[in-house]
């Protein structure tokens, strides 16, 4: 696998992120609190507050956010995006911040890495596994009469193309 970072890909990633950031319109947020009051995570985690997150972005304090755990604790329920009266989506902002945080080399939950590695190696996030029934018997796809699992036919090519995209612009 080549470690060369494809210049075009880097540009693309940056462009996409730039577009997201400029469309964020975080400045028009009136801090009304509708997003936070709809958020299922904000109820249980005092540190997670979409309204405050948008305020920080509007004030240019994104570095703080990139380093924090906060941006990783969104459950992507999309209630904030659905209801914001200014059409701001804290969820989409969080996704961009996550992308940026990874590229800036900040720590993030290990589970994501495992998934990315699995997809790059096997084409799927999880390999089909043996499961337990309620009666504690073991079953798998074959014993249940299901067709074998699918994955990309040319794994090498898939890994090359996808890997290149993932690696573009930073760590990966």
């Amino acid at each position: 696998m080549s470690d060369d970072i494809d210049k075009e890909q880097v540009e693309f990633v940056s462009l996409l992120l730039q577009r997201e950031v400029s469309e964020m319109d975080a400045e028009v947020c009136e801090q009304c609190g509708k997003c936070t009051s709809a958020c299922p995570v904000a109820i249980y985690m005092e540190g997670f507050n979409p309204r405050r997150l948008i305020a920080k972005v509007a004030l240019g304090r994104t570095d703080e956010l990139l380093e924090s755990d906060t941006i990783w604790t969104c459950t992507s329920c999309l209630k904030c995006k659905e209801r914001c009266p200014e059409n701001i989506s804290p969820y989409d902002v969080i996704l961009v911040l996550r992308n940026l945080a990874v590229r800036a080399g900040h720590p993030y939950p290990a589970g994501y890495d495992e998934t990315i590695k699995a997809v790059l190696e096997y084409g799927v996030a999880q390999q089909p596994r043996m499961v337990r029934t309620r009666a504690h018997e073991r079953r798998d796809r074959a014993s249940l009469g299901l067709p074998p699992a699918e994955k990309p036919r040319d794994m090498k090519k898939f890994n090359e193309v996808l890997g290149g995209i993932v690696r573009a612009g930073g760590s990966g």
């Binding site: 075009e8 693309f12 990633v13 996409l16 577009r19 299922p40 995570v41 249980y44 985690m45 755990d69 990783w72 604790t73 969104c74 459950t75 992507s76 329920c77 999309l78 209630k79 995006k81 659905e82 996704l95 996550r98 992308n99 990874v102 993030y108 939950p109 589970g111 994501y112 990315i116 997809v119 084409g123 799927v124 996030a125 999880q126 390999q127 089909p128 596994r129 499961v131 337990r132 029934t133 309620r134 018997e137 079953r139 249940l144 299901l146 067709p147 699992a149 699918e150 994955k151 990309p152 036919r153 040319d154 090519k157 898939f158 090359e160 193309v161 996808l162 995209i165 993932v166 573009a168």
Partner: protein, 301 residues
Amino acid sequence: MKYALYLGCTIQAEQFGCEISAREVLPRLGVELVDMEGTSCCGFPAFSSLSTIGWFYLSARNLALAENLGLDILTLCNGCYASFVETKHNLEENADLKGFIQEKLRQEGLEYTGDIRVIHIIELLHDLIGTEKISETVTNPLKGIKLAAHPGCHAIRPSSLGRPDNAENPQKLDHLITALGAETMDYPEKTDCCGSMLATASGTTTLTIAAEKLKAVEGYGFDGLVTTCPFCFQMFDGRQGEINDIIDFIFDTDSEELEVPIFYYTQLLGLAMGLKPEKLGLELNLSPVDALVEKIAGGAK
């Protein structure tokens, strides 16, 4: 009605009940399911968080595979549905991005135009097949059984991009439930999240979110909960035991364990059609479904 069946990782790897029941009941409704070759993960949620372009790539390649078959793509999972629809939308909006992705796909020998439709299982059952037709296939109505509908976040939000059902007052899954002869009712937590997307980042909050919903559902006197997303299903069904293990901690007081039977919709549809539980993967549900399944299947001729 012929569709390219896209399973997605969760179903293909472990939530076999969803697949078994879908494969069993959909052909009986006149749906031909065509298996896709060479599919990959749709990219949600790991790639959407870490590499948005990678996410678009993964979704686009699955769409391209379906395009190759000349078929619309059917998903059994909210997350996969959201991925495909968002990818299609983003690529339509941004010609450069589309060109970039198309070029990469060609390296894998795939062509993407974005012309096929993405169909969610709720859409298929409610809009394309219709509750009337479904009712006609019911020989064993689920009489006297009250079920809570859980459409799941990505089947209803965000409305701006078009979703199978209404964001604040989704009723389609409810109609599908009553089409089986069962009862349902609106309840305040219906549009709430299952919390599973938080699992990667948090230990207990993800379980707390699910626990609150299940507790509420139990409190209203529902006999069970029905969903059309394997992620939600995995959380409510597969992890109900885990929730019960720490339930005192979750509710911060001595609490009764939750006992909520969880079903993927096509499993119940199968039972209402008079099919045997083994044909619907019901032995794989980890939530306490036995009593309810016996009650329902016992009524089957």
